[in-house]
Symmetry: C2
Subunit: 112 residues, 2 copies
């Protein structure tokens, strides 16, 4: 039960689809229902509905109830946890590269 690993799996997988990224982009401008979200797409509303379920299961969006509507809202905190994961390793790697640069420059100086 690697809960946090599973969460990362689901979140990154959720973002690995252009339709779902497009839904995220749309929701960043404010809440929207399934019908509203599905409108611009060629695929069926059912397909969009399942994309939304994927995003919700990944914790990237939340849903409220308003009569028969189920408005979707973006969950910025979940997005932040993804950038946090990525940045952890990016920053370590960048430090490595800077250190390597320093070593190379030192060697070059000693040469001359």
């Amino acid at each position: 039960m690697n809960e946090s690993e599973d969460r990362l799996d689901r979140a990154f997988l959720a973002l690995a689809d252009p339709v779902r990224r497009s839904l995220i982009a749309r929701l960043s401008r404010g809440e929207a229902t399934v019908n509203e979200l599905a409108e611009p797409f060629v695929i069926s509303k059912q397909a969009v509905s399942r994309h939304i379920q994927v995003l919700e299961a990944a914790g990237l969006i939340t849903r409220t109830r308003d009569g028969q509507r189920r408005p979707c809202h973006l969950a910025p905190a979940a997005l932040e946890s993804l950038t946090a994961w990525i940045d952890t390793y990016r920053l370590i790697a960048e430090r490595q590269y800077r250190r390597l640069d320093t070593v190379l420059n030192t060697m070059k100086e000693k040469e001359s």
Copy 2:
């Protein structure tokens, strides 16, 4: 030919696997060969080799040649482009939420 969309697809999909994320974590501490990367895993070296190909196709790592070895290096720039994408929409959404808070607070003030 949505090249940049395809790149995002491949990059996020590449991160949607615990083995590949583990490889990223390892590579953040410095370059490593396929054998070195495969050693801690239970799965076969061939499987790890293909995970590495996925990471390379996604642009998340690069490879050099050193005799019969093919050392892998992390590509921080690619990771940065991912955080840039996520942060774009996260920040917009956060602004939305702050604006909503402001509206709600204003309404509360007028009430009293």
